[in-house]
Symmetry: C2
Subunit: 123 residues, 2 copies
Amino acid sequence: MPRSVVPVNLADKLARFSELWSQKRVAVLNDYEVKVAKLKGEFVWHTHEDTDELFLVISGRLRIQLRDAEVVLEPGELFVVPRGVEHCPVADEETSILLFEPTGTLNTGDTGGPMTKPAEVLD
Amino acid sequence: MPRSVVPVNLADKLARFSELWSQKRVAVLNDYEVKVAKLKGEFVWHTHEDTDELFLVISGRLRIQLRDAEVVLEPGELFVVPRGVEHCPVADEETSILLFEPTGTLNTGDTGGPMTKPAEVLD
């Protein structure tokens, strides 16, 4: 039997924390990170000037407000916010998401403020 | 009411084709692609010398054989094959996956051969 390598189980990772709006890194691909987070309520309007940002909903429901539009994501749905596009995520119920973006991308982009929090590593 | 933007629904995308071992691009993030594919049977041993490769299982079950180990992925589990590591995916049942890797990464890496197929765009 070959040695068995344990994959990343997203549900297991999500079960290990309850904190909201706190990104947890679960994998690295080149100079990109795969992160998970739990969201509830409204975040802050912000922009990532240098990168696109991918949201994939695992459970719950995420609304991504754009200045001229809105996208609603159910589980199994993803959306890429293009670089330079101001957006504000809102979760009316507790929602778990997967994020994919370059390593070091800050959650609040260019806005900063008290919600700013670097991703934590969840091994 | 703001204009509504339609997200990418992975199940809808997967319902649109039945071809095996044919990657379909469903989103772009910077110079990376999000792709889906349906797999059944054993692929070919190959290596991506220049990039890591992310596999996330959506349905079914994927075994990624490495030369000295094996990783088994159930739905909701992901694994990143590091660059330079030879691997061979095997799906004992039909399996749907999401892939994340740099744009233009070929499915057969450095091996080539009849299974080589550039990703198609599935808008």
